[in-house]
Symmetry: C2
Subunit: 157 residues, 2 copies
DNA sequence: TATTGTTATACTCTATAACTATA
DNA sequence: TATAGTTATAGAGTATAACAATA
């Protein structure tokens, strides 16, 4: 358990980290907004999957996932095949073109972070990665356990 | 200097941390979106300030800052006084109503984090805070040093 | 001429609800 | 009846550009 002032400070840091995320988004190629890059990265790591599982990995609603997937499918970066086991489902898979784009994305991310984080040690970066991953785990699947009463917000963004 | 795979993983974690930010946003009171909470927190910590300085602290464009400030001013949480030293400027300051709201926000943030992070030690939370703060520092003022060539995006979100 | 702040417009991201097709 | 996915609509956040007032 941590002190109250620590929780307040963590909330503040999380609120402010958006500036870093926006800067990372600025280095992406035309036609590839940050959300598209996120989808492509997950498909690369986890392989072929269904929409519903992708939405779960992204921790966003499937309606939003559907739009992101449509965007990258229209550009030929993924293909959507019917699922032989369930005709309601579609299986998503990277195309060669999508894999090429991922290589480009990886280079840009790496170059940018190497530039900004030039005085960070391997261990520093590793610690941050580990703590961010643990933070996400601690929050679990936020969407499903969300509580909606009259005094709290259900924001769109 | 860190390895390339670490940079890729860090980019991935930063992309995914949005889920945590959204969950934190869900616990805010009606009428107080996350951006408003961020403005109020900064005014509380740094005291009376001008629009331009607030925009710098938020690391967002002043046009956006202006909208956020208008939102919280309309609700009586801050007051905007003319700056006697520069008639173009307006000085922003929390009202008693705004300070009351901040107390409520602090309680909600603390309760939420205490619940999700119940197995985190004081040291864990401290490390994460420190690394996030350092990350923001390493990125510096992202907006002013942004480079805009034909192959990169200038996203709105 | 440069700077402070506001407003108009556009784009990204997300959520809810209504809908179709299939299980 | 329930689930997978799509589409329509709305709201939040941000950036660029044009503008008014002042330095």
């Amino acid at each position: 358990m941590a002190a109250q002032t620590q929780y307040e400070e963590l909330a503040r840091q999380l609120s402010a980290i958006g500036a870093v995320k926006r800067e990372m988004g600025r280095i992406l190629p035309q036609d590839c907004p940050p959300a598209s890059a996120g989808v492509l990265t997950l498909l690369d790591r986890h392989g072929e999957m269904r929409m519903s599982y992708l939405a779960e990995l992204l921790a966003i609603d499937m309606s939003v996932t559907s739009r992101h997937v449509a965007h990258i499918a229209e550009r030929g970066w993924i293909e959507r095949k019917p699922d032989p086991a369930d005709k309601r489902s579609r299986l998503l898979r990277l195309t060669p073109s999508g894999k090429e784009l991922l290589t480009e994305l990886s280079e840009r991310y790496t170059q940018t972070l190497a530039r900004y984080l030039d005085d960070w040690t391997d261990s520093d970066v590793g610690n941050l990665i580990e703590l961010l991953a643990r933070l996400r785990t601690s929050f679990g699947d936020c969407r499903t356990r969300a509580h909606h009463d009259s005094t709290t917000r259900t924001p769109a963004g």
